[in-house]
């Protein structure tokens, strides 16, 4: 590889680049692609050997920690109430900020004072902090848009703020769907980004919510009057949404219904405010009943055939008119019929045993002792585990150890918040969210 570059082994990226440049000038990449490819590979290999940043896997910038207290200081200095986001009907976000420090031509303004964080910027960031603190997702989103559009948030700080904003918005079902989708699309959170290693679980949650919203929208679109769907599909969608079929199930395809129900189960946590899980359970019960009836009907035919065959066989045998062919064929036919019956009975047994699954939350918990079944007890259990993990975080060896406990604490709290929301315990959910934010702040400021 070093020969390709025409130098001996060395660990100076500049020297390697110089050697590469010298070689590159001697060849025409368009004419001799193979030579260029070899040279390029040699360069990338050599740079990786030296540990040059350009050849390393990307580590996101560690954001400077955001201190809510600091933002509060700023606001105290200003001595003014927080600006509230303008509620403009035509747009779902937006905030006009007056900025005295805008200069028309930045080059003309030699002292470039506006590069500093101006007072209005600090007010805006303070307002954003305060909105994040009081868990007002809609206001926080409006402030963030304004801050991003005016550059009040510099590049370094944006990822950390976005993490907090999404952590808040994703849990808040009051944030309207178009607004949430717009937020995700604008800041590139609508796609899986493996290179953003800092918050994979949060990203997964955002993607899960977007997928759930998309699923719900497509369902609603199919259910809409005059939708380009067949009558059966539309009826199925309406049934899923609970608009029809309270007392009588309309004619829908069983397989399709089951498919929709299964899809709902994967999105349930995000949609339980719009589709009642009890209703889904009800539908599932109906589906199961139909399935059983269908299987029994299907089983009747082979059963009758089998019984009839045995009767004939016995009658013929006793009359002594049994031909050799029948003697040979009868066991096979009987075996086939028995096998069909067995399959049907197994299916029936499975159906009868299977109970509606209760999805416990978007995040899964792996635990040693296992959570209790009772929801209230489970909530307490989750909180307890989170606190234990948080304490362990301090005692763990720095680096990966504390990171693992931190991630545990976070996971347990996420689950607990989702559960509390489902149980309707708003205060508990809020308390837990505050705790989560605190733990995150502590981790970011002291452990990274």
């Amino acid at each position: 590889m070093w020969d390709e570059l025409g130098i001996g082994p060395c660990d100076d990226p500049k020297a390697i680049r110089r050697a590469y440049a010298a070689r590159l000038k001697k060849l025409d990449p368009d004419k001799d692609l193979a030579a260029f490819t070899r040279l390029r590979e040699a360069l990338e290999w050599a740079l990786a050997e030296t540990g040059d940043a350009a050849a390393q896997p990307f580590r996101p910038n560690r954001a400077r920690p955001q201190h809510p207290e600091a933002a509060q200081d700023v606001l105290d200095d200003l001595g003014e109430p927080f600006p509230q986001p303008a509620r403009d009907e035509s747009r779902n976000y937006g905030l006009a900020i007056s900025d005295d420090l805008v200069v028309s031509d930045i080059v003309a303004d030699a002292d470039s004072k506006w590069l500093d964080v101006a007072a209005s910027d600090r007010a805006l960031l303070g307002a954003l902090e305060s909105a994040l603190g009081r868990r007002d997702a809609a206001a926080a989103m409006a402030f963030f848009y304004s801050a991003a559009a005016t550059g009040a948030v510099p590049l370094h700080d944006a990822p950390a703020l976005l993490d907090r904003l999404f952590a808040l918005a994703v849990e808040d079902t009051k944030v309207e769907r178009p607004a949430f989708r717009h937020l995700a699309r604008t800041f590139g959170w609508d796609r899986a980004a493996p290179e953003q290693g800092a918050t994979p679980e949060l990203r997964q949650r955002v993607l899960a919510r977007l997928a759930a919203e998309d699923w719900y929208d497509s369902l609603a679109a199919t259910a809409a009057p005059r939708a380009p769907a067949t009558r059966k599909q539309a009826n199925l969608a309406r049934l899923m949404l609970g608009r029809i079929g309270r007392y009588r199930t309309p004619r829908v395809d069983r397989v399709e219904l089951k498919k929709r129900l299964d899809e709902f189960r994967t999105h349930e946590a995000w949609l339980c405010d719009r589709i009642d899980p009890a209703w889904a359970n009800n539908l599932e019960k109906r589906w199961r009943r139909r399935e059983i009836v269908w299987l029994v009907l299907l089983g009747l035919l082979p059963l009758v055939m089998l019984l009839n065959g045995i009767r004939l066989f016995v009658a013929e045998a006793s009359a002594g008119t049994l031909s050799l062919g029948v003697i040979v064929a009868a066991p096979f036919v009987a075996a086939v019929l028995l096998w069909i019956l067995k399959v049907l009975v197994t299916e029936l047994y499975k159906l009868a045993k299977e109970r509606p699954v209760t999805v416990t939350g978007p995040a899964t918990v792996e635990s040693v002792s296992g959570p209790p079944d009772d929801a209230e007890a489970r909530l307490r259990w989750l909180e307890q585990r989170a606190e234990l993990a948080y304490e362990a975080m301090y005692d763990a060896p720095a680096g990966s150890g504390s990171a693992a406990y931190y991630s545990d604490a976070k996971e347990f709290l996420y689950d607990a918040i989702a559960l509390a929301n489902r149980l309707g315990q708003v205060e508990t959910a809020e308390r837990l969210s505050r705790r989560l934010a605190h733990i995150k702040a502590v981790y970011r400021s002291q452990f990274i």
């Binding site: 440049a21 559009a149 009040a152 604008t186």
Partner: protein, 563 residues
């Protein structure tokens, strides 16, 4: 002679490398900026540039502009009842630029470097190349716009090893490129962008705000309104407020737009600038603080809100000593000089990067059963921001016993599933029968330095090679269609070049006539009638005199003229 051409959404420029410096070539009117507009005159002849753009408010059905936005689609734009493809309209602009360059340099021009937005995809690039062919130019290479800007700045660099970030907000596209310049090599490290975000979108946003606010319920000719908004946008680059005035039912309607209000309206667009910048930095693994210069390019980068945003994101001042409107054309001229091996430029070599991930559709089998398959999985072959030219290959195998054919679908995009990516074309291979997994096919992607893709599939057992011909993609013209369209364009009557000035003046006077009311209108009408009568008499001296007279009159009345 090779020229460098910046074929823009709003304006186009042509430049050349001459005597150790870049020279921008003026058009027949003496301007270096030629509006990318094409119109059809009453006499059936084609008008290109300023005369066409001035006619846009008065003859919207006979004029087309901003057609670069439709490059790579099969959308037809109509001039009167005649439909044109975006490539053809671009070719007409290119042809006019070529004529200007030939008149200026006094020698025939047959080759050109054309700049394209970095975020243009394969289809859009092929369309640009086709436009060059239609204009009778051999497109030596396509050059991405941010790279061009960096080349223009690279000439006057003081340090040898530097990281440059080019932020290019043009009329229709937004591009970010991170370049590394070292030892006479200009290397594109990462490219990101948004091909649907540009100055025209800011105009659209203001037009929408006008129609929602003061202009609610009244119908104003869209082209006239857009022109007024464009003017206001330009005025707001220097002033604190601008007035939009349109005539409706013989009554003038005025709307004063303050800078703050404009910035509030453009906020949703400004927000979208951030993600591509972050992505380029992340892909190149570069910390914002280690950038040595942030370069602004593109006409729309003159908006103060944009400059302020960029400066504040990076907490430092961007540079734009070279006019952002000219910088791309100057860079293209530098590149043209480099290709012609001009003295003084030999030392710079450049490599570009692939803006998108390219790959094929695959099927993943995770068990033995036919049901244990995931369909439509995207398999990247050339990852985005790989240095190009590049050639990479991947081996795929058959999944069914006795599979007789394989359908290789080529996609561009970043999503895991092909349904979220863009289909570029497909290739059908015939295979000898055999058990599943025995036949292997080597799929090789070769990406040349213009960002054009070639796909070759080799069946390893038979050695048969298939090369991709993009089929069924409406945005790409086949060679025979190019030939046909070329013949069609040759039939078009073009206005003589020396007539451009008169046509531009008439178009401008007609626009003023429609914009104004009362006495002013009458004055313009009379002057125009006299001028047209003089033209008919065909006495060169009289025409020259009349032209300067009318021109003076219009200058005194028209404060809303811009290039």
């Amino acid at each position: 002679m090779i020229v460098g051409i910046d074929l823009g959404t709003t304006n186009s420029l042509v430049g050349v490398w001459r005597d150790g410096a870049t020279v921008l070539i003026p058009n027949a009117l003496g301007h270096t900026l030629t509006p990318s507009a094409v119109g059809l005159g009453e006499d059936g002849a084609i008008l290109v540039g300023l005369p066409a753009r001035e006619r846009l408010p008065t003859h919207p059905a006979l004029t087309a502009a901003a057609f670069k936005r439709y490059m790579g689609t099969d959308r037809l734009l109509f001039l009167g009842d005649k439909g044109f493809r975006p490539e053809e309209l671009s070719a007409l602009v290119l042809r006019s630029l070529k004529a200007d360059a030939e008149a200026y340099l006094g020698e025939p021009i047959d080759e050109a470097i054309i700049s394209v937005p970095a975020y243009f995809n394969d289809v859009q690039r092929k369309a640009t190349k086709a436009a060059g062919a239609l204009a009778g130019l051999k497109v030596n290479r396509l050059l991405t716009e941010p790279t061009a800007a960096a080349l223009a700045y690279g000439l006057e660099a003081q340090v040898d090893d530097e990281l440059l970030l080019v932020v290019d907000l043009g009329g229709g596209t937004f591009d970010v490129s991170l370049l590394h310049r070292f030892e006479g090599v200009m290397e594109v490290r990462a490219t990101a962008g948004d091909s649907w975000l540009g100055g025209e979108d800011f105009v659209d946003a203001v037009v929408a705000a006008f129609q929602a606010g003061p202009g609610a319920g009244i119908s104003v000719a869209p082209a006239a309104l857009r022109r007024q908004v464009e003017l206001a946008k330009r005025a707001l680059s220097t002033g604190d407020s601008a007035t939009i005035s349109v005539v409706h039912d013989g009554k003038p309607i005025e709307w004063t737009l303050g800078r703050e209000q404009f910035e509030t309206i453009s906020e949703p667009l400004l927000v979208r600038l951030r993600a591509p910048i972050e992505r380029a930095l992340r892909d190149a693994r570069v910390d914002p603080d280690s950038l040595s210069r942030i370069i602004l390019a593109g006409g729309a980068s003159q908006m103060p809100a944009f400059r302020r945003l960029i400066a504040r994101l990076f907490r430092r001042l961007p540079v734009y000593q070279i006019s952002p409107e000219e910088v791309v054309a100057r860079g293209a001229a530098v590149r043209a000089g480099m290709i012609a091996r001009e003295v003084g430029l030999e030392e710079t070599v450049m490599t570009d990067a692939a803006p998108f991930t390219l790959g094929i559709e695959t099927l993943v089998q995770h068990g033995k059963l036919a049901s244990e398959r995931s369909h439509g999985i995207f398999m990247p072959i050339i990852e985005r921001n790989t240095v190009i030219p590049a050639s990479r290959s991947s081996v795929v195998t058959t999944v069914d016993n006795n599979q007789r054919a394989m359908n290789v679908k080529v996609f561009q995009g970043e999503s895991r599933l092909v349904k979220d990516n863009i289909l570029l074309g497909e290739l059908n291979l015939k295979l000898p029968p055999g058990p599943a997994g025995r036949e292997t096919v080597d799929v090789r992607f070769t990406y040349d330095s213009s960002g054009l893709l070639e796909v070759r599939a080799t069946t390893l057992s038979t050695g048969r090679v298939e090369t991709l011909v993009i089929e069924g993609n409406p945005g790409v013209m086949q060679p025979d269609e190019i030939a046909r369209r070329l013949a069609g364009l040759a039939k078009l009557k073009l206005h003589p070049r020396d007539d451009t000035e008169n046509r531009a003046l008439i178009a401008r006077a007609e626009r003023l006539f429609e914009e104004r009311l009362g006495d002013e209108r009458a004055t313009v009408g009379n002057a125009l009638a006299i001028f047209i009568a003089t033209l008919d008499r065909q006495i060169p001296d009289a025409i020259r005199e009349a032209r300067s007279g009318l021109s003076e009159l219009l200058d005194s009345m028209d404060h809303s003229f811009f290039l």
